[in-house]
Amino acid sequence: MIRLAMLTLLLALPALAQQQPRNQVTIMREIDSDRYDPHRTTALAGGEVLTMLSDTLVSIDYDMRTIRPGLAERWEVSPDGLIYTFHLRTDVTFCDGKPFTAEDMAFSINRWIGRTTPRVTSPVAWRAGNVKEVRATGPHTLHYELNEPFSELLSQLTLFFASAVDPASVERLGDNFGVQGFNGTGPYCWGSWTPRNEVVLNRHPTYRWGPPVLQNQGPAHVERVVWRVIPEAASRVAAIQAGQADLTQYIPEAFWDTMRRVPNLTASNQPNYFWDFFFGFKVDRPVVNDIAIRRATHQAVDRVGLVRAVWSGHAEPALNIVNPRTQDYDAQSDAMVPRFDPAAARRTLDEAGWVPGPDGVRVKNGQRASFVTYGINNLTNQRAAEIIQQGLRQVGIEMRIQFYDATVAWGRLATQEFDAFFLSYPYISAGDALSLYWHSRSRPTPNRMNWNDPESDAWLQEARATLDPARRAEVLALLQRRLADQAPWLTLARSQLNVWSTRRVEGARAHGLYGIGLYRGLDLRVR
């Protein structure tokens, strides 16, 4: 009995001694990543932590256009746009103290594009361009050679997929790299990870090579960052109000108005945030292969009302595919998108020969105007889908909803068993968004629309390869107009990014690259 009491006391002592460290920032989020390996993870949940753990060759400013130095302090591009020579900083070290060299960077890029053994398959290897070779030509010089020009390359290299990792740690940890440990050059170092619970990062004490877009180039002001998973939105709202956590970007829009009135909280908004919610059609599937159905859908869905309802007005109602603030956006294509007008939708369907059937659903040649929609099962999708379903029902189109949990959904969305789907995605520019989704080569994913148009492919090819920005904007505009005309995709909302923080911390400026709220987190400071 006495022994038991002593044991309890012993166990209790460290717990009692453990106090909340003063110089710690707790960040809340909704879900955890499956791993923290930049070359195997594409999830936002992975990226937001990886952006603190590692660096990229180049960085991007808050305007989402200007490319700034990163691990490379300068670079040259050959006149044909094929060879990029990056001159790396000489003062960079990994978390374990080992100096960072061009060899390490070459290894990292090659690992990303699947050219190291054991081979890693990153689903986003295409973002590195059509690479001929990447190699170190000096201790701090990197030779990056393409087979064809890629106008997007530098902005793609700002994404966390292009992070530098330590080859020795990758080899040592094998499959557990990014699971049991990590070694990068970032402002914070891997502390510990309890899956679905929390990731703890510690300050990288010798870090001095932060991107110039930030106020602080290092080392970080805060000693420790704790990323805590709190799946319930309501719990996150309450926790930040009660000061149990310091920061989060995962507050549903419905709470924004209430949260703005809380004196203890501030929100940092990023206007140049490109994360769209959309509804796409598989253009070669029955019913939805009829352009009339697709155009009528545009006319039947009240996107202003949708944004008001689902995003509580804190998103922009969208027209065509890309955000007006992105590079190479085409305004004329926006004007071509059919507007909300249920009467017009009925006319469109009438004219196309879809006549009302006995159950209210229209019929044409014995085919009911009914289609199946897939998506990820989350609250935003659920609400948007239910509202769209009602809008379509009003004009005589039946939409059947089949949502799957995130882990299953991606597999389902790679099949051909559905007609339409809900998704959302981040992008950097018009060229990025369009080449991601609309090249025939990208079928079946991410081109789930099965969009297969030789002209579109040719435009995308030209936009990628041209060295003339005006010409690139021109061909991308042609594609935007083609898509507005054919209506294979309905952008539902352009979401906004608010990074919420308590009075306790400052420097939580919203950046939003690839949806990631904080950029490196170097400016964070506890008051």
Binding site: E232, A233, A234, V237, A238, P252, A254, F255, T258, D302, G305, L306, R308, A309, V310, S312, L379, Q382, R383, A385, E386, I387, Q389, Q390, G391, I401, F403
Partner: protein
């Protein structure tokens, strides 16, 4: 069992009378849902999102601008359907096992051991397992709740049947060469009805509670189906802005289950005092 006596006892107990009236009302509302619901339970009004109760929409609207009152009325339909189907499915199988155990004494040991095993697992585990196998959905919930009901019903029926079997007239009937099935159907079963009835009423409440919990967890009815547990789950996301979205369906579940429980207790007191645990 004397029916007039039962009725009199029920009416004398205020709580029982109230709950009986409420249960009747709920069942009626569920059946008549398409006619009495003031609005289409799926129609979204984008100009009236998360309206609090009391305005144009009597019980307010949910996050998609749908009428909560209408959704609750239709939700009752789904909830009661789920409860009744699993009660009947599990009850019929359980009763068959119970009669068999009482009737064929050689089977008794094996059957009741089997029932004990089933009984040792909580219903929620069946819910989890079935949802894991067939995927989340109303069907999984119904099967799980049916399985969980089987051993309970088997025990009740076996107990009641054993008492009846001890009566002289059973021996007499048996002597006339009546077939077993006929004997059960004509003589044993009718005399076991009151405990079955009492148990079913109480069980229905529990089944509804469990089913709505499974739906709340996302393992049962799926959106946009109006089901009370699922509605509460969806409303939970807006708990701090519009608590009525989850509170109203939760209250509805509470009221229905409470009514079945009070009614069941009263029935038990009236019909079968021996069953009092």
């Amino acid at each position: 069992m004397s029916r007039p006596g039962t009725l009199r006892m029920l009416t004398r107990d205020v709580g029982a009378a109230l709950s009986f009236g409420f249960v009747a009302l709920v069942v009626l509302a569920a059946i008549l849902a398409p006619w009495i619901a003031p609005r289409d339970p799926y129609a979204t009004d984008l100009l009236a999102i998360m309206q609090p109760p009391g305005g144009d929409y009597l019980w307010g609207t949910d996050g998609q601008g749908r009428d909560i009152l209408s959704r609750c009325i239709f939700g009752l339909q789904v909830t009661l359907f789920m409860g009744l189907v699993s009660l009947i499915a599990g009850g019929v199988i359980g009763a068959a096992v119970g009669f068999a155990a009482a009737f064929y004494r050689r089977l008794d040991g094996v059957l009741m051991r089997l029932m004990d095993i089933l009984l040792s697992f909580p219903a929620i585990l069946f819910g989890l397992a079935l949802a894991a196998i067939f995927g989340p959905g109303l069907t999984s919930v119904i099967i799980a709740l049916s399985i969980a009901t089987v051993p309970l019903m088997a025990r009740i029926v076996r107990g009641a049947a054993l008492v009846v079997m001890g009566q002289d007239y059973i021996e007499a009937a048996r002597a006339t060469g009546m077939s077993d099935a006929r004997l059960v159907w004509r003589h044993v079963a009718p005399n076991c009805l009151s405990p079955i009835f009492v148990f079913s009423t109480l069980r229905l409440g529990q089944v509804i509670l469990l089913g709505s919990a499974l739906s709340f967890l996302g393992l049962g009815a799926q959106a946009p189906v109006a089901e009370l547990g699922a509605m509460a789950a969806q409303g939970r996301n807006f708990l701090f802005i519009a608590p009525h979205i989850s509170v109203i369906p939760s209250l509805a579940i509470f009221a229905v289950v409470l009514a079945f429980n009070v009614l069941g207790d009263a029935l038990r007191d009236a019909l079968d005092p021996r069953l009092r645990i």
